[in-house]
Amino acid sequence: MYIILVYDVKQQRVGRMLKLCRRYLHWIQNSVFEGEISEVKLAELLSKARALLDEEEDSVILFKSRTQQWLEKQVLGRERSRLDNIL
């Protein structure tokens, strides 16, 4: 499964949220991540995120796609981070 995850959390929790997402997905710009992830790993990530969130104030939004193929991505301006696996 290919997902795009965006979050909007209160400043004091931003750091922790960022660190958590970095372990599972590729950072593409502030508070936006994308990447291939399995059902199980996603459930793991979401349960950790849930523990971190204040559900009154914060939100995490997921966009799911079956594979990367079905996702058309367009970038205007500077691409902050490339996702390829040849460094």
């Binding site: 660190k19 970095r22 372990r23 599972y24 997905l25 590729h26 950072w27 990447g35 291939e36 992830i37 790993k41 981070s81 696996n85 040849i86 460094l87």
Partner: protein
């Protein structure tokens, strides 16, 4: 599916926030861009450039079962950092050793491995024959070698046939590449003498590492092999398995790269009486090789799409079944 990451630029990999941080160095050695690699998405690391790292990183990688394969400047595989074995199976270990120590049982497996390799490489030749290349003579010759395989009485003899088959196969190599400027001559290594040899060395090495990575995810012990002599220097079971997959993964990648002119003479550098791939060439090769590993075929028995990478693992499973006398090992033969 977890991804393999290939590191070409010099840089520093470190553990930060329970994930991987990679800082590339620029030409002056100053820190360049940093990138975080999600640890949950890393299958293994292939290190071609110089990499700074400390034990904290390796501890961390070990915990997550990520192995790191190293290659030197001359494109040789130099070794691996393997995470602690996590699939231990004493019973299989004993069976695997048993199959090695019994000359009769070992012979069976060695023969099957060479049979598989020969079949797949004939497949390549026949494909090009149908496209009008003159390789009929070589095909007939290889078929002769294959026909005498069942009568071989020792593993050394089988290795000999394997050598002959490869030699005959490499004779066609020049013919299969329709681009002028790529001569082959004979197979040469350490260092490779020309462009085709350099590509072969580089490709074979990637293939060994790919096989090793897959073996790691099964219960097999990578040091006990059947065709090659086990134990010393290398993870030799990976060499055994690679025999079967080299024609499909390496050779076909090379033919594609050259025939589509994705790699050209300018991607090589001649130095010290040898010929090596430049970084641009290596990157192209790795990219295409990676695509190939991810490519899927419809598997007949499993009745679903299976990537080449997974095929290697399936081969390990078949080997396991053979060792435990559940089902006889049949090498993978390309059926399309």
């Amino acid at each position: 599916m977890k991804k393999t990451f290939y590191l070409f630029n010099p840089g520093r990999m470190s553990r930060q926030d329970n994930t991987l941080k990679y800082t590339a160095y620029d030409e002056d050695g100053a820190d360049g861009q940093t990138r975080f690699l999600p640890i949950e998405d890393v299958a293994d690391l292939y290190v071609f450039g110089s990499l700074d790292a400390n034990s904290a990183l390796y501890n961390f990688l070990g915990k997550h079962g990520v192995s790191v394969h190293f290659f030197d400047y001359y494109e040789h595989y130099t070794g691996s950092f393997m995470a602690k074995e996590y699939l231990l199976a004493g019973k299989l270990q004993v069976a695997q050793t048993g199959h090695y120590t019994s000359p009769k049982k070992r012979l069976v497996l060695a023969r099957k491995l060479v049979e598989g390799a020969a079949f797949n490489l004939l497949k390549n030749l026949r494909y090009y024959q149908s496209r009008g290349r003159q390789v009929g003579e070589e095909i007939a010759q290889i078929e002769l070698y294959v026909a005498v395989l069942p009568h071989a009485t020792s593993v050394a003899e089988i290795m000999g046939y394997e050598g002959n088959i490869r030699q005959t196969y490499y004779r066609c190599y020049e013919q299969l590449v329709s681009v002028p400027g790529f001569g082959f001559g004979t197979r040469s290594t350490q260092p490779p003498q020309n462009e085709l040899n350099a590509l072969l060395s580089f490709g074979n090495m990637l293939c060994y590492a790919a096989c090793l990575s897959q073996i790691y995810h099964t219960q097999l012990n990578p040091t006990i092999s059947f065709l090659h002599e086990p134990g010393t220097r290398r993870f030799s079971l990976a060499l055994d398995l690679a025999e079967i997959f080299k024609p499909l993964l390496v050779d076909r990648t090379i033919f594609r790269l050259l025939n589509k002119k994705e790699i050209q003479p300018r991607d090589f550098v001649r130095e010290l009486d040898g010929c090596l791939l430049k970084e641009t060439g290596r990157k192209t090769f790795v990219r295409v090789f990676e695509e190939r590993l991810k490519e899927t075929i419809q598997h007949r028995r499993l009745n679903r799409a299976v990537s080449y990478q997974h095929l290697i693992k399936l081969e390990c499973y078949k080997l396991t079944k053979h060792l435990l006398s559940i089902e006889e090992f049949q090498p993978f033969k390309a059926w399309w």
